[in-house]
Amino acid sequence: MAHPSTAPPAVETSGLVKVFGKTRAVDGLDLRVPAGTVYGLLGPNGAGKTTAVRMLATLTRPDGGEAQIFGHDVVRDADQVRSRVSLTGQYASVDDDLTGTENLVLLARLLGYRTPAARERAAELLDAFGLTEARSRLVKKYSGGMRRRIDIAASILNTPDLLFLDEPTTGLDPRSRNQVWDIVRGVVQHGTTVLLTTQYLDEADRLASRIAVIDTGKVIAEGTPAELKSSIGAGTVHLRLRDPHQRAEAGALLTSIMGAEAQSDSDPHALTVRVGAAGNDAAADKASRALADLARAGITVDNFSLGQPSLDEVFLALTDKTKEASPA
């Protein structure tokens, strides 16, 4: 990707549609994924993420709209698309009844390597993914994390320019999840674009440089993780008071300074203020003024934090909005 500004984007779709019976699984999807980045498709189960990825990977034919991968149409130039992409599906796409080595040698042969070169390539991949010891074991005997790794190893065997990872960490323990994240970082470091679907907001937050939030087959928000968070508000102020009897007084003070309602938590010492989008820029400034005023009023604050909203909060806020907008 020598000229990222002039090269076509890794993925570009406009009005992409897929209908299954009466369900519009993907309903006018517009995406633009710049090359060389990790792009997150974030959405709940049934949002249409997998269907979208399957269309982009040439596995499912779109019912409407257009999709291009590096400028190649997914229907008309399917073979060209296939030579540049790879997919790690939600359900392990390696062969259970073969060993680790056999799985990779098979794929290498299918990509045109002759058997000795295929064996060499398989050994390299197994080594880099920490599977050398397990190479002669059947994949069905692998742990969940090892399976994911061989699956991703199989996906990068063809040195794809674009790698689709469909929910790569669903069902993994935290350690295996971290391993997958490190692998994804390695892949993108080399210039391969990664399109990652996930239901885990922290995963998208950690890996993706841009995120599209998908619900009912449409993009309902798009941007960097930071932009998405600030779009629903600057953040949340948490306070913990030494004396719970001062909570009412502190709450009134905070409400007037922050310009947003202070809410009493179940903990009698705690107060929370959600800063709305309007008070965006000055949130930190206002919070520090509020702290000074509280000190002047003789209210002791034991603990204070001002944080950006989590992506979970963003997500719930966004999906609630779409529900209100379209009364069923």
């Binding site: 359900y91 295996s176 391993q179």
Partner: protein
């Protein structure tokens, strides 16, 4: 999710720390080869089928035990009544029983394809820039080995039971080749059902009403001249009847081009019709 089920404790998983640089280094396009030819891709899939046999040899039981059982069963059940002695009857029955046994096990091809589709492994194959039918053709080539094994088992058992084909070894081998070629063509029916139906069980359920009438309503067990006219009409056009006749003739060393042509044309029709439908289904999945 499929990966979430019972992850066994594993030492290698715990020790592994991925090094992003090493993973990245694997993405260098230094020796990316050209795409494989149609034949190379099919052979790679055939290798996959053979590996599966190597890892799960039990799956060969159905291609060895089943033919033995039906050969013994029908030889001893009908032999005395129909031909006076089992030894007499086996001379008539053996080529036909070979046809039936091999065709019965072609159904497993469809079940295997169905399992692959359900597991998602085909998704990976379908994103590869290879000759599209390779996955199906390769799987079928692997199954052909099973057909060869089944045919061999039956012929050997026949020899033990007193079967002596007058065509000698050459005639017998020619007969086996013809049966296997037909089985290859016939298997496309099951590949189609494997791609079309939802589960292995449905493939099995569909196969019985197809296989039983086709194989039994033929000239395998008895001479059709004793059958009622309407049945004779069916038996006469049944391609299995022609296959059995041609197989008997080859084994006896006296073939007739008309029968052979009938069989080969049926093979071509089966491949063109069911092969085309299967590949369409495979592309559309």
């Amino acid at each position: 999710m499929s990966t979430a089920t019972t992850p066994p404790e594993d030492d290698t998983a715990a020790d592994y720390t991925p090094v992003p640089d090493r993973v990245g280094a694997l993405l260098n396009r230094r020796d990316a080869p050209n795409r494989p030819s149609a034949l190379a891709a099919s052979l790679a899939f055939c290798w996959r089928a053979l590996l599966k046999i190597k890892h799960v040899p039990e799956q060969m039981i159905d291609v060895t035990v089943f033919p033995i059982i039906i050969t013994l069963m029908f030889t001893f059940l009908f032999g005395g009544a129909l031909a006076g002695s089992t030894r007499e009857y086996v001379q008539f029955l053996l080529p036909g029983i070979m046809v039936i046994s091999v065709l019965m096990i072609t159904m497993y091809t469809g079940m295997g394809i169905n399992t692959d589709v359900e597991k998602g492994i085909f998704d990976r194959f379908r994103t590869l820039p290879i000759w599209r039918p390779a996955a199906l053709v390769g799987a079928l080539l692997g199954d052909v080995l099973r057909y060869v094994l089944a045919a061999t088992v039956i012929v050997l058992l026949g020899l033990v039971l007193g079967y002596r084909p007058s065509g000698g070894a050459t005639g017998m081998i020619a007969a086996m080749v013809l049966v296997i070629v037909f089985a290859f063509a016939f298997s496309w029916i099951w590949i189609m059902f494997g791609l079309l139906l939802r589960s292995e069980k449905s493939v099995m359920a569909v196969s019985m009403p197809v296989l039983f009438p086709l194989t039994f309503l033929s000239n395998v067990f008895v001479d059709p001249s004793t059958m009622p006219g309407w049945l004779q009409a069916f038996v006469k056009v049944n391609p299995i009847t022609h296959l059995v006749t041609a197989t008997r003739q080859l084994a006896a060393g006296t073939w007739d081009t008309g029968e052979l042509a009938w069989v080969l044309v049926s093979c071509a029709v089966l491949i063109v019709v069911f092969g085309t439908i299967s590949i369409r289904l495979y592309n559309r999945k």
